[in-house]
Amino acid sequence: MTKEHANWSPYDNNGGTCVAIAGADYCVIAADTRMSTGYSILTRDYSKICKLADKSFMASSGFQADVKALQKVLSSRHLIYQHQHNKQMSCPAMAQLLSNTLYYKRFFPYYAFNVLGGLDSEGKGCVFTYDAVGSYERVGYSAQGSGATLITPFLDNQLKSPSPLLLPAKDAVTPLSEAEAVDLVKTCFASATERDIYTGDSVEIIILNANGVRHESEQLRKD
């Protein structure tokens, strides 16, 4: 007697790509704005980036319903933290919180591939990259989502920073200037759009530095 398997899955993949690059005194977080399901486009201007704290932005691709729930959980935890400690959460602290939040759903995971970008307490850029169940590490740059396999080799070539595990320790952040990094991100998305059907429409870019937050938007191919 064959078991009838469920035709309904609680998950769906809405596609999309997210990238973050850490610099000496800035951080660039970017995500495309296309939301798809199967071969259809649901919308062309959906923001995948969420501001969690003054100095922490999270960009997530995957199943956007889970992403929305995750953003809500983190935002409310941050609010509670602010009430209890009378200050904003630092980016490394938010990174740990995100990791634990993801792991608490270890047996029913959030289908979300996250990249957290921000400035640490010294003002240096920091990027944290995650898998779906919460394993994370601090890196100099990262890409997640459907176009990640196309973008990461390009970033490895342009930005390859020495591993933080080497002894004597070397800095992982890129020596590029802010303008160069933003340009690099636009190039990444333009290339990924050419070869990934789930990436396109436009890219939303957030630049964080000591002066505050800046938004930029760049149109991509809509086909």
Partner: protein
């Protein structure tokens, strides 16, 4: 009737004899100090009375209790329970294993590795690579697989990266709580037991953890292997991960108890290098740590690509004939 008093420390044997039947009730209490005074009358098949008073220490089974609720529990994120294991939301499905298999295939958590550790005269040497792979894709070349639980204890990561990171951090919290509660450091034996009990309670739910706990406590260097099946082994030499067969080959052939710290570090580094050379799921940076009486120190972190050329430098080929430019008429 004779009354004989016995003091038994490891187990109580109580014999109750009624008429012609002999009923033996045996209580075995392992690993517990039992103070008792037992009056046992001489056994002659007669009915007689005896009295028994026993003080038993309460066995603490909290580590073995399954902490996962059957149905989605209340949101534990807002409460501050560190000493109890966290409760997890579970999917409402009749086919839990199928769901886990599909979701793990879909989310493809990062894994694959080579880690090793061995005890020698000067302490414990711990080494690991730094590659994380998601299926066939290398998701990272710079994963920290040697986790610093506290200044004198290290844990290695093999299997699911998130599982290892989370439970090692949880173990670090428990070790700190132990220190605060008992005013002394936890032993390596105790720490590994804490972790093993937690993993045992999640047995069968799909966690993937193959870890070694290495440390230096009052009894000297200690090394335990703990895995997500609930296994816990004490030993002097272990290697865990997809590259472990290759690491064992190098480690076994070069191991001696009387190595110096430098020699042992070189052996560990070489073993990791050879594993990364032959195993596709291992690579990146070979990190080597030493745990001594004063805690651990990181000895080296070398890119294995560069190690290859330092061990096997490219020799210029002996050229026997050289082509020269053809003379154009």
């Amino acid at each position: 009737m004779n009354r004989v008093k016995y003091r038994i420390s490891w187990f109580i044997v109580v014999q109750e004899i009624t008429s012609s039947n002999t009923v033996v009730r045996t209580f075995f209490l392992l690993n517990q100090r039992v103070n008792d005074l037992v009056d046992i009358s001489q056994l002659k098949g007669f009915r007689f009375e005896f009295s028994l008073s026993v003080e038993i220490m309460k066995l603490d089974f909290s580590g073995l209790e399954s902490s996962a609720p059957l149905y989605g529990g209340s949101n534990e994120l807002l409460s501050d329970g560190f000493s109890a294991a966290p409760s997890f939301d579970l999917p409402v499905t009749s086919d839990f294993d199928g769901f886990q298999k599909n979701s793990i295939q879909m989310v493809k958590p990062a894994k694959g590795t080579t880690t090793l550790a061995f005890i020698f005269k000067e302490g414990v040497m711990v080494a690991a690579d730094s590659r994380a792979s998601m299926g066939g894709y290398i998701s990272s070349q710079s994963v920290k697989k040697i986790i610093e639980i506290n200044p004198y204890m290290l844990g290695t990561m093999a299997g699911g990266a998130a599982d290892c990171q989370f439970w090692h951090r949880n173990l670090g919290i428990k070790c700190r709580l132990h220190e605060l509660a008992n005013k002394r450091r936890i032993s390596v034996t105790g720490a590994s037991k804490l972790l093993a009990n937690i993993l045992y309670s999640y047995r069968g739910m799909g966690l993937s953890v193959g870890t070694m706990i290495a440390g230096w406590d009052e009894k000297g260097p200690g090394l335990y292997y703990v895995d997500s099946e609930g296994g816990r082994l004490k030993g002097t030499k272990f290697s865990v991960g997809s590259g472990s067969p290759y690491a064992y080959g190098v480690l076994d052939s070069g191991y001696k108890y009387d190595l110096t710290v430098d020699e042992a570090a070189e052996l560990a580094r070489r073993a990791i290098y050879h594993a990364t050379f032959r195993d596709g799921a291992s690579g990146g940076v070979a990190s080597v740590y030493h745990v001594g009486p004063n805690g651990w120190t990181k000895l080296s972190g070398d890119d294995v690509g560069e190690l290859h050329y330092s061990y096997y430098p490219v020799e210029p080929a002996i050229v026997e004939q050289e082509m020269t430019e053809a003379v154009v008429a």
